[in-house]
Amino acid sequence: MSFLTRTGYSFAKNTILSTSLRSISTTKQLRLKELREHKEGSSLVVEGVTVPSPRTELLIRAVNHQENPHQCKDTCYMCALNLDVKHTDVLILSQFVRTDGCMLPRRITGLCQRQQKKIGKLVTMAQKAGLMINLTPAYCHKDPKKRYGFKKFNTYFDEKTIFMKRIPKPTDRFER
């Protein structure tokens, strides 16, 4: 029953909110896509063009890192690189966000669960500190000093607090 309702719901949603972006494709997708709009006479043409990724040439990987997940099971590329990323390293953190400053999901970043959580929190810290103010939604004023209340003052963060829950307190002798 739930399957039927879900199918019906998704069908109705697809018919009402039909967009040019579909998750299902009939052809094999090979490269990065870019949506281009141009007018031909009176008709608007929207086409998806495959483009080579601008990042491929600058990409840095660890020496012992394999792309195939079967060869090294638990290691993602961030774990293999073993970088000490701080929340002030905006040049690294800005690679993991959209243009509106939202963290990309794990299926796109390709990180392991722990690194995705860590990078996500670091992005939040950088945004709260106002260090990536150009990567914010359009309604943002783009100036950290114009923010409301306590948010307009400078804030820094301690990276040790990210996985604080897993560190046992010194009083918890038996959990150590």
């Binding site: 990065l32 990042r55 990409l59 905006v90 040049l91 260090l131 301690d158």
Partner: protein
């Protein structure tokens, strides 16, 4: 006493003026450093009965940075002395009212509470901005090193440099660029 020794004597007991830039600095951590210069703890001739403390000029105190959610969680207590006269003011409200007060209270709290503390505090000069009176900047001869690196905002880095920076993450093959 020879002339060289006499100059050394003057230099030993002279008050040095230090400058400290509070931009993006934690006031409670930097208070521990400022305190040493104010009390003269960094000098070999230090003694608690010896008046050998230096003068510290703090600039940019409006730009201090507090850790985490300290701006809205740290409260400053004041009591007027009358019944019901207790007030708790949040750190960001204090900083709105007087941008020099947080660093002043932090340094005051970092020192041991004796009567000398009030006189030592007179040697701490705090300015909310970068502008200092001319007669004060003339005396300054040393700069105290900042404890934290001042972070760079992404929009202050040139676009070319952002593009050239080595990349860690690459988009998957079917990602739609926006």
């Amino acid at each position: 006493m020879s002339a060289a020794k006499r100059v050394q004597q003057w230099a030993t007991f002279a008050r040095t003026w230090h400058i400290f830039d509070c931009k993006w600095q934690d006031p409670y951590q930097s208070a521990e450093v400022i305190k040493k210069y104010l009390m003269g703890l960094h000098k070999p001739i230090y003694h608690s009965m010896n008046d050998c403390g230096d003068v510290v000029v703090c600039i940019n105190s409006r730009e201090i940075a507090l850790r985490g959610n300290d701006w809205r969680q740290r409260a400053y207590f004041h009591h007027t002395g009358y019944p019901g006269g207790a007030t708790w003011t949040l750190a960001w409200e204090v900083h709105n009212k007087d941008p020099t007060m947080i660093i002043k209270k932090a340094v005051y709290k970092a020192m041991r509470g004796n009567l000398q503390r009030r006189h030592t505090m007179q040697r701490l000069l705090i300015y909310p901005g970068e502008e200092i009176p001319e007669d004060i900047i003339q005396n300054v001869s040393n700069q105290i090193r900042q404890l934290r690196l001042v972070p760079t905002r992404l929009d202050h880095i040139s676009e070319e440099e952002v593009k050239k920076f080595p990349k860690v993450m690459d988009y998957p093959q079917d990602y739609v660029l926006k």
